[in-house]
């Protein structure tokens, strides 16, 4: 389908695709197997200026928005979504700064992320605070000109590899979600260390690690936006902007799987003919392609809505993440089916894609939570209508 991308967006897409095909695809299996962090590819993406496509020009970016980021994430995900999420998580990490940071914080940190010289990461989840983020236990206490952080964040993408961390911590327990603040913490700050690196089902190129704060003192200026209590709202507003990126990741994985399935179906011969000539298989491929295109259309439409300046897009953002990730799961399972036993083997890329797809239904809010967000918005909308 033609989405009428601008010349610049098409250029971004072509370049990201070229990097995905030439540099990422040949190494996808290696990173999947070893779980090494793909620094060489991060450097290629940085040199190609792709880290800045969605960031404002005044902070060293190229001035694009959510759609530009989605385009890059989708193309990279076709080849390896572990690589794609390492790229995307840097955007997630700097998003709170973008939405609620002070001018100095934006100047100082977004410029570094835009150049790709440094990666960012976002730390909200804890052992006892997953879907229910307000239950977090990490604390920050003001002591003179410094905040003192204590607690452990869990499953933080780019943990240990990133230099810039946006971290949520409780500054006033009594206030519940309004007592959560956001801090910018730099790697190397005394009292800030990394815990164990997780051994995952999929997106194994990406690093998922604990952030451990033990009397970690950070300057008061690193309180996001200079205001306590805006951490939860920064998180919600961040997710509204970044969930289409997860949708794009899902679309990319599904596209990679569909491409592999169609190609294989034309080559594999059984009963004296290529398996693509069997209607039973054709219908599967047709459904996969149709669902995938619908998912892409929803992701792009949401991204354009956000970039167009819409005020509230929580519902659409949740919808596109939900629909695209459920689609990716279904399409990748079907792709393995199309390849039969070969699909189950690591020599072919689809089993990895199936493992990779699962995470898109879980992180940045599980799909149950997305449905919850969508329903809440529906009820709010209905309640606000006077009939």
């Amino acid at each position: 389908m033609d989405y009428f991308l601008t010349e610049e967006q098409q250029m971004i897409k072509d370049l990201a695709r070229r990097i995905a095909d030439e540099k990422v695809a040949p190494k996808a299996a290696h990173y999947d197997e070893t779980g090494e962090f793909p620094w060489d590819i991060m450097k290629i993406l940085a040199d190609a200026d792709l880290f800045g496509v969605y960031l404002p020009e005044e902070y060293g970016g190229m001035g694009g928005g959510v759609l530009e980021q989605c385009i890059v994430v989708e193309e990279l995900s076709r080849a390896c979504s572990g690589v794609a999420v390492s790229y995307a998580a840097s955007g997630l990490g700097c998003s709170p700064i973008l939405v609620l940071g002070s001018e100095e914080q934006k100047k100082k940190y977004i410029t570094q992320v835009a150049s790709g010289k440094k990666l960012a990461a976002f730390g909200a989840t804890e052992a006892n605070a997953g879907s229910d983020l307000a239950a977090m236990e990490t604390t920050a206490v003001l002591d003179g000109n410094e905040y003192v952080l204590n607690g452990t964040k869990q499953w933080i993408t780019n943990g240990g590899e990133a230099d810039i961390y946006t971290v949520m911590a409780v500054t006033d327990k009594k206030k519940g979600p309004r007592g959560i603040s956001c801090f910018i913490v730099e790697k190397g700050t005394p009292g800030f260390t990394f815990g164990k690196k997780e051994n995952k089902m999929g997106i194994r190129a990406s690093a998922t690690r604990e952030l451990v704060f033990d009397n970690c003192r950070i300057p008061k200026e690193n309180l996001l936006g200079g205001k306590e209590g805006i951490g939860f709202i920064a998180t919600m507003r961040t997710f509204d902007r970044t969930r289409p990126g997860i949708g794009a990741q899902a679309v990319g994985i599904a596209q990679g799987a569909l491409d592999a399935a169609v190609k294989y179906s034309r080559e594999r011969v059984q009963f004296g003919q290529s398996i693509s000539s069997f209607q039973g298989l054709q219908f599967m491929l047709a459904d996969m392609a149709t669902q995938l295109e619908a998912a892409r259309a929803l992701v792009y439409a949401t991204a354009r809505m956000i970039d167009g300046g819409a005020k509230n897009f929580s519902k659409e953002s949740a919808m596109c993440k939900l629909f695209a990730s459920d689609t990716a799961m279904k399409v990748t399972v079907d792709a393995v089916q199309v390849l039969g036993g070969y699909g189950y083997m690591k020599e072919y890329p689809v089993e990895k894609m199936m493992r990779d797809a699962k995470i898109t239904q879980i992180y940045e809010g599980t799909n149950q939570i997305q449905r919850h967000v969508i329903a809440l918005e529906l009820i709010k909308e209905s309640a606000s209508k006077k009939d």
């Binding site: 010349e7 610049e8 250029m11 971004i12 370049l15 070229r18 990097i19 030439e22 540099k23 290629i44 040199d47 190609a48 200026d49 792709l50 496509v53 190229m62």
Partner: protein
């Protein structure tokens, strides 16, 4: 440091087929690319510029449509690109080509280093680089695989030969041709691509570079192609398959059978 890189547009040989009747290349419908060996030259020039500063000027001779393709080198990081193009150059062999390019390099003026790929993948002559150097009257070194040190007046490098490599120092201005071992050409950057979109590629005619018509194109080309043909395949290779032990047995039998080993 002023560096000129000479590049050539060639048919993408991974797609080229040969007409079995006429034994000539079927060029119709085949995509054109910049000669892959020249991309190593572009990359090396950009690396030198990043290290010691300067400008990288990409130079090509060819039909007008080459101008668009030269923009790829600007997207990688070259500062400018110039195309030498004129009907008078049609039918140039390596001598006429190197004449035109050397005149263009003289027009660019004050060039410290000229870099060429080791050869073009269509003609495979490897002559143009050294001929340019001779025409301008500067020293040259071929098959360079590594540049160890460079200043505006001197270059220290390693060049490949059959049994290894030589370490050589050469005064500059000079010309080198590079092999693929020297680097891995980078991909374009987004900012580079945007810059290249807007870039104007000047097209220099024979008059612009003050070229002598007698030395241009067919007039200046002593090479006459009599016939192009694919060498006849006189014998087929043998492929030993099976387990390593079996393969070894086959090989030993073959060597003994041919009385190569007795």
């Amino acid at each position: 440091m002023k560096i000129v890189v000479c590049v050539k547009q060639v048919p993408d040989t991974t797609e080229v087929k040969i007409n079995p009747e006429t034994n000539t290349l079927i060029r119709e419908g085949v995509a054109s690319i910049l000669n892959p060996f020249d991309m190593y030259a572009v990359e090396e020039a950009i690396r030198i510029k990043e290290k010691v500063g300067g400008t990288v000027i990409v130079l090509s001779m060819g039909p007008p449509q080459v101008a668009e393709q030269l923009k790829e080198t600007i997207a990688m990081g070259a500062d400018e690109a110039i195309l030498v193009s004129d009907r008078a150059f049609a039918g140039s062999d390596t001598l006429a080509t190197s004449y035109a390019l050397s005149k263009a390099i003289e027009k660019i003026a004050d060039v410290n280093l000229v870099i060429c790929g080791k050869q073009a993948i269509d003609g495979d002559t490897a002559q143009v680089g050294p001929e340019i150097a001779e025409k301008i009257g500067i020293p040259h070194l071929t098959y360079v695989k590594k540049i160890e040190a460079i200043s505006e007046t001197e270059i220290t490098l390693e060049r490949m030969n059959e049994d290894g490599y030589e370490r050589v120092q050469m005064p500059l201005p000079g010309l080198i041709t590079v092999v693929k071992e020297i680097n891995e050409p980078r991909l374009p950057s987004l900012k580079g691509m945007m810059r290249s979109k807007k870039a104007e590629i000047p097209i220099w005619s024979a008059a612009d570079i003050d070229a002598d018509p007698a030395k241009c194109g067919l007039n200046g080309s002593p090479t006459w192609v009599k016939r192009i043909f694919i060498p006849e395949i006189k014998c087929q290779g043998e492929i030993f398959s099976g387990e390593p032990e079996e393969q070894v047995k086959f090989l030993v039998n073959a060597l003994v059978g041919r009385k190569i080993v007795v």
